[in-house]
Amino acid sequence: MQIYLPIADLPVNIFVILAIGLAIGFISGMFGVGGGFLTTPLLIFVGIPPAVAAATVTCHIAGTTFSAAFSYWRRRALDPALAVLLLCGGLVGAACGVWMFNRLRAIGQLDITIGIAYVVLLGVVGTLMIVESARAIDRARRGRPTELRRPGSHAWFHGLPLKFRFKRSKIYGSIIPVVAIGFLVEFISTFIGIGGGFLVVPALIYIMRVPTSVVIGTSLILTLVTMVFAIVMHAATNHQVDAVLALILIVGGVIGAQFGARTGQRTRGEHLRLLLGLLVVAVGIRFAFNLVLQPDDLYVVRTLDTNR
């Protein structure tokens, strides 16, 4: 069944979009990530213009993280103080990200920047995940206990001024690196159309040494609020958010996430991380091919926004 998308200005098969939503929802429920790094490329692949895809994916991420964040909130498995500080940096970062998005779009380098950012980010993060999970699997096989958090192992940036005690996370340190992480993660994720969950979770665990129990809930809050902010920013500045496309994606995503979460709970953590790492690297390699291989057509025509 074909449905006409009012902003993307083209007809798509409603079931294809619903299937993409379901599949991404399944993956995000299973691994606890937003799945933006998969949705944007898939939408571009079915013919949605990259700008509309990146802007609309913010809705999909906000919709799927909302239900998850809700349940973490009820279980109090998040650190409100940490979330607020991350948000301070994150909102500024998201605003800069949307500005960067519009700027690059105007000079015609948006697609290529998104491409390069994907290759670098997915390549690095994916490889780190594979290495880390392979080690964890190896440790589990030899019967050694998992490494615990070593108290007192502070890096130099924990000693910066403006110290604060994060009660729920049981850490005491400067707020500067927290704000910086929020800013950087959201700057990158807003303009390339991802949620940033897969960036902020490792950053909080490995850099800030936040306990795993509160990391996912806190990162969900950060993702949720900045994505809502990004929807409004994209809609107000570049008018590329397609509400119809978003609605179909979210309906698929919310349903898929429920089944994904059930499958995820039956799978072991390190195996799950290994699978996710492989998936992330595979998407990165796909993008690398796109950059290096000669395109079918050396010319691209893009219509400029007109006040129709």
């Binding site: 009012p6 007809p11 809705c59 909302f66 349903i255 429920q258 400029l304």
Partner: protein, 256 residues
């Protein structure tokens, strides 16, 4: 369609009786003057009917060229080249105020209808329609063999937005013709001008202008206008809808 044909023929016969036997006149009409874009829009097809009115039909027959041009817009053509192993957009030309849709339909090859000079003067054919191009500061209509212009026309042809068909006009009788105007799903909304021109012996002898409108209606219209004119409000409402759907999902599938 048959009804509109009957109406046209009736009008034509009435006109025939009234005009003196002199030169040729051209009468053209479209099957539909308003094309509505709704949620199930996957493209449309208009039919153009025309009649050549003359007391003394030429023995050699006539030629028809119909040019349909859609609402004007600005576009950019980028050229990619390999830089440090990666394909980048390295060069661009801006095309200002060019038709978003352009179709040139004729009953036979354009070069058989009129000579190159006439075609250029009357802007007959995709190669002779001016597409204003801007590189940095200079504004000029690019030569037909300019690579950016060629790429622009070629890509639009692949999208079905530009076309040139020497079999686009069919003569049903020596003086009666019809043409199909295909509109792909990606057409812009706005006014489309139809210019039908009659040629005899390589010269234009009559022309008949017409027009139609492509417009969005209902929900699509509402979404497009709101998104463009009230971006902030549109964003806020979309965000609310997003959260409501997410919340609904968590309520429906709640397990605790």
């Amino acid at each position: 369609m048959t009804r509109s044909l009957a109406v046209i023929l009736l009008a034509i016969s009435a006109l025939c009786a009234a005009t003196p036997a002199a030169a040729q006149r051209l009468i053209a009409s479209l099957s539909n003057h308003r094309v509505m874009v709704t949620s199930s829009f996957t493209g449309a097809e208009l039919v153009l009917f025309g009649f050549i009115e003359t007391a003394t039909p030429r023995r050699g027959g006539y030629d028809i060229v119909a040019t349909i041009s859609g609402p004007r817009q600005d576009a950019v053509t980028f050229r990619k080249a390999r830089r440090v192993g990666i394909w980048l957009n390295v060069d661009s030309r801006e095309f200002d105020n060019v038709p978003s849709y352009l179709a040139v339909l004729a009953n036979r090859d354009l070069d058989a209808i009129a000579n190159a000079d006439t075609r250029r003067r009357l802007q007959i054919g995709l190669a002779n329609i001016p597409l204003t191009q801007r590189a940095a500061v200079t504004i000029a209509d690019a030569a037909a063999d300019d690579p950016f212009r060629q790429a622009f026309v070629r890509i639009n042809m692949q999208r079905g937005l530009y076309r040139e068909a020497s079999n686009g006009i069919t003569f049903l009788a020596p003086l009666l013709f019809r043409a199909d105007i295909p509109l792909p799903a990606g057409v812009s909304t706005g006014n489309y001008e139809v210019d039908v021109r009659l040629f005899a012996d390589g010269a234009m002898v009559a022309r008949a202008p017409s027009a139609f409108e492509v417009y969005k209606a209902g929900f699509e219209q509402f979404i497009t206008t709101t998104a463009r004119t009230h971006g902030l409000l549109f964003g806020l409402v979309t965000a609310m809808m997003t959260l409501a759907t997410g919340w609904l999902g968590s309520v429906i599938f709640r397990r605790d």
